[in-house]
Symmetry: C2
């Protein structure tokens, strides 16, 4: 296997160039189908053409650069849209790594490598919308009915795709596998001084909302034993769940109560209602079911003991997505070569386009560190050395897979 001779300076220069599209201070505002997003996709299309790739955009705005030749080839990429005000690396790092690997391989007569930027990963309309439609997870008609916070419809927004490149559908059959490099968006690699994360699985998620309903009362005139205090119930649930989960979780399990709404929420009134979000993530589907059952039983016990009503509203539910063993092996070998002793296998706690693409192709994912674990924030950053090490490792893995 001959290594693909990537040029790190081109990656760093193009990252800086793309940062200007939608720049706001240190951050980037480049939501799907905004003017900066369309302009940046047009520039990406131009760079792909300059590299000798055949450029196509599909009806959803997913932008592909495919090398000449026949037969399925490796696809590398991510997304180039951002959060309403996001960081300068989230998504675009994986797209530009894909572009550099594809270009360097073409230049050096290496294996055929294609590149993609999926659309609306960050959820102006739905979240992972472009890859969901492309992988057949969501019908286009369903995506078309999505709308953003201001009411603009995905169906109307995507009429602009012709401004980016020639429009055509790009069947999954043109590719053999999908590789995605991404910033970690968490603190694990940064805290452990490691350079590469080899993703074993994108974790699954179970979410629901608990609503404890008691009785709002005067905080001075209602004796403790006559209260039906919804916030006390929610607090007990949060606290006791830590103990109830302890025997069942691993270091890869996380659970979060990110949202709590109290009614009437006044210092002198005993809370009558408390709505609490519960979100659990784990790479193991069975464990998620176990945790869900424990949480619901605890909530019911607390509501019964405190004479409260309990309402449960189901929320998001995603199954874990294991990465392809062949791709994990290739990234592992590359990491051992370029970051010996400074890499780890880990789950992805966040969802990525790879979650959808896994429905139609073998997928692999690789992380580089996020300084302080910060992401979805203008302060998001990664050391240049780590950006480069990621590119070199990805190119090595691509060489192993595509040869």
């Amino acid at each position: 296997m001959k290594p693909i001779p990537v040029n790190p300076d081109r990656l760093l220069a193009e990252l800086a160039e793309l940062r200007r599209f939608g720049a706001q201070g240190k951050g980037v505002a480049r939501m799907a189908f905004s003017e900066p997003d369309l302009a940046s996709r047009a520039l990406l299309a131009e760079r792909m053409r300059d590299a000798g790739l055949e450029v196509t955009v599909d009806a959803c705005g997913n932008l592909f650069g495919i090398p000449p030749g026949v037969g399925p080839c490796l696809l590398i990429g991510s997304h180039s849209d951002t959060q309403p005000l996001g960081g300068w690396l989230d998504g675009i790092y994986g797209v530009l790594c894909g572009l550099e690997v594809a270009r360097a391989s073409l230049e050096s007569g290496g294996p055929r490598v294609a590149v993609v930027s999926f659309q609306d990963e960050e959820g102006r309309f739905g979240g992972l919308t472009g890859s969901a439609v492309w992988a057949g997870v969501m019908p286009l008609a369903e995506a078309d009915a999505l709308h953003d916070a201001e009411g603009a419809r995905f169906a109307d927004a995507r009429c602009t795709v012709g401004r980016i490149a020639p429009v055509a559908e790009v069947p999954a059959g043109r590719f053999s596998a999908y590789l995605e490099a991404h910033i970690e968006q968490g603190p694990v690699l940064d805290q452990s001084n490691e350079a590469i994360g080899v993703v074993e699985a994108i974790v699954g998620m179970r979410g629901f909302t608990l609503r404890f309903v008691g009785q709002a009362n005067h905080a001075g005139t209602t004796p403790m034993h006559l209260r039906r205090d919804a916030l006390r119930a929610a607090a007990q649930f949060i606290r006791d769940l830590e103990e109830a989960f302890a025997p069942h979780v691993t270091e890869k399990t996380v659970w979060t109560h990110g949202h709590l709404a109290v009614e009437p929420n006044a210092a002198s009134i005993v809370p009558g209602k408390a709505s609490l979000s519960v979100q659990m993530r784990d790479p193991d589907s069975d464990r998620l079911e176990t945790l869900m059952a424990i949480a619901l039983e605890l909530a019911e016990t607390i509501a019964r003991d405190r004479e409260l009503a309990l309402e449960i509203e189901q929320g998001p539910r995603f199954e874990p997505v294991p990465m392809s063993q062949a791709l994990v092996a290739a990234i592992t070998a590359a990491a051992e070569t370029h970051a010996a002793g400074a890499w780890r296998r880990m789950p992805s706690g966040a969802l990525h386009d790879a979650s959808n693409v896994a429905q139609v192709l073998p997928v692999g994912m690789m992380f580089v560190p996020s300084i302080g674990g910060i992401s979805h924030n203008p302060d998001e950053d990664t050391a240049p050395e780590h950006l480069v090490r990621g590119l070199v490792t990805l190119a090595d893995a691509a060489g192993r897979l595509a040869s």
Copy 2:
């Protein structure tokens, strides 16, 4: 001692009459110095004059009806303003009881009894404003600077007092003691099927806000051991405080977390900040200090253990107000006469005008039941039988005091 021969039918008729001022459905909207408040005070002034009382309003809008004769006399009353949308009995019950006792006593050649309706008890501007100024607890200049939610100033609102009655100051020296009847606004009498509550003390209060400050993070990518979750700290505080307080509280102690604000309060983000109200009420000042110290120590321990910053903002602080022993004895004797076996001594968990008046006069308070403990709500109600039993008991106590 000759009983004061009150006429319950006049009380019930006047309660129904006053209910029409500011009526909204079953409730009443009669905030201080609103048109319905001014009109109802003008009617009260007319009824006082018809009863043979000398009518005066002071600069704050406190309305007095004083019998002819010399020397200090007993004062009975409460307030006739309401919450933005309150019930039909809160305050006005005590004023009309005072009017009926004063009138019946004059008619029957009984002891001299005066009546008062204090202004802005319910806090359109400040809360207990009229009685605070009258009792010298708050300088008039300070009250004048208060403004309502729309920015209207107390100083401007009180320019209307001349529409109610002749304006003059009414020194506390004109009275020997103050008696206030009020609906309980809590569930204790209703649940125990008792008719009369003899108030021993208006409880004291300590309030403060705890603000736990950690780090907002992605709920998928941040491992549990690297989180600094502000909501988990607040939940632990609420839960552990129950245990920490248990050895120190009595059945008269209450404590409430009525307000909790989480930031950023999104299901997929580990909470970075949580602000929690803590409010404790007890008739014993020393106990309040003990509880305050326990709460602060617990909060500091939790913040330290979880590596969070802790900010503490002091809130309202009221000392307990004991009732006069002589007035408690008179109300007790009257309750034993008119509600034998169906009365209890109890604290007042809510503040009342009596809290302020206690600074200048011996004070006593008496409760009648609130159905379901409901108050500050259009559903507030009390059985007619209990309204009447309260009047008769109050008149009996007044006779014992004024003779």
